[in-house]
Assembly symmetry: C2
Amino acid sequence: MGVYKKRTLSFANSHILEGYTVAGPKENDGRYKGFFDHALEDDMFGQKTFERAERKMFEHAIDGAIAKANLTACDIDAVIAGDLLNQIVSASFAARKQHAGFVGIYNACATFVESLIIGSCMLNNGLENVVCGAGSHFSTAERQYRYPLELGVLRSPVTQWTATGVGATVLSNRSETVVPRVTRATIGRVVDYGIMDANNMGAAMAPSACDTLVTFFKDTDSSPSDYDVIYTGDLGKLGSDILMDLTRQEGYDISAQLHDCGASLYWDEQQTYQGGSGAACSALVFNSVLLGRLRRGEYKRILLAGTGALMSPTTSFQGDSIPAITHLVEVTA
Amino acid sequence: MGVYKKRTLSFANSHILEGYTVAGPKENDGRYKGFFDHALEDDMFGQKTFERAERKMFEHAIDGAIAKANLTACDIDAVIAGDLLNQIVSASFAARKQHAGFVGIYNACATFVESLIIGSCMLNNGLENVVCGAGSHFSTAERQYRYPLELGVLRSPVTQWTATGVGATVLSNRSETVVPRVTRATIGRVVDYGIMDANNMGAAMAPSACDTLVTFFKDTDSSPSDYDVIYTGDLGKLGSDILMDLTRQEGYDISAQLHDCGASLYWDEQQTYQGGSGAACSALVFNSVLLGRLRRGEYKRILLAGTGALMSPTTSFQGDSIPAITHLVEVTA
């Protein structure tokens, strides 16, 4: 796990104007009830298919973020977004409704943090306002990645629950008031420790989260205590424990700062076992709870580490292990 | 089709150090025979599955580009790449072999040009060397998007043939010698004219290509005659004719400059009907023929417009039309 400075970037002018969240019913029954801008009563969202519901969530979140930032669609230069569906069709089809350019991305559940990094880079190249976003939907992911919903397959205790929700963030190269900013980032690399169990993604992703966090600390000469909190995306409870052990072996104790968006999303009674997973986890928690605390000054500086498992059903069928990636952003109030 | 200046970017320091191509057997029997760095004799590339062959093509192209640029893996800060497989597993799994960061992207067959735009932006944010790449494989795409290969379905005369190949480009923020540079770009927006026929993607993509080209000409106050050639990605023969008509209606005659990577890839006797399609088209033709002509001074300035159709089998089953996107880069010798 060598130091490789070039993966860590600094941003002078990546102002977070606003964040907007659309959350599913189960998510709004969880620990962050009431924190979301729009909570669905029904995860069909008035559509004929789950896939169209997911698309509508994207449309709603992008429009909501733009309006909440007191901007109009014409002010937005690019939408940078992705989701878990094949060919990222939720983000792509939602982008039809925008005047802006579209930059489609995919790094599984690390997609939201990836969007913040690419968006921040583009602001430094002359763009003024961009919308970054990601999301997922339990019912579309479950039937695409695992089993038909109607089959009622019993779930293993190491599984997580794909969160339903979309989070969108408006980044701007200027702001009239002081707002939280994306100040630094580390681009993740693909790490594969040979985990084969597609139901145990926390274990597959923890080494990648360790690699990126340790790279960031070394590259920036910082330490966990420089941060109010460190949120990972969707390692789950087991994966978070593994990450704490791994970083301790590297000389960094993150136990006082570490939280996981996915693991914190639901109450135990909601029976999600290891907690939430999916691209929605970090997008939902960042754009509601974390951004709110940063804006109110309750947090001065945080790290958000989006964790992604890069397999597909086809690679699992063909006997491949699960590569993982973790992108990280530092957000300063 | 309004002017929206913010989608057009300029890059001061995006030097194209090298390009490398791995082409399938049918592609190396086509019009560009002998132009590719590595031509496969067998599209299985010594692997057990077509998907693993596609992955190996990515590994080979990324390593090949780095070596050809006289760099080592440690010199590369990020790999920015994508492909047509669900969850872009070819690019993701290939990136396991790199030390660099990985930025996974997907805009269908516009992915290669998208990678050049994101890579150029990242060079302006402190990265020194990045590898941009994209590709596709006939046999993996056909069975994922259309029919099992064994079924031997008759093809419609408006269909195209998914090209087998991967192209990778090393971009650097500096160069000791004068090399071609990515100088400007226009980020495409998602355009949907309601085309429903997934076998006629040229017609679905032509309006998007027109939107991006006209936006670029207006934003930069340039005209088609400022360029030696304008290459689109994979509109095919029919789509290219539609594009010429559409741009003429907007006051731009591109008939003297327009070529299509896909349409020019094969001989008529190879029976691909409208020509090649797939993310490989622009990646293969740019990194072999076009880059060679730029380096030799035969071209001074060209436009490469990557065209992508953003549907999935699921959206087509659910009755959706085909949205399209076109990203454009200007490359100056």
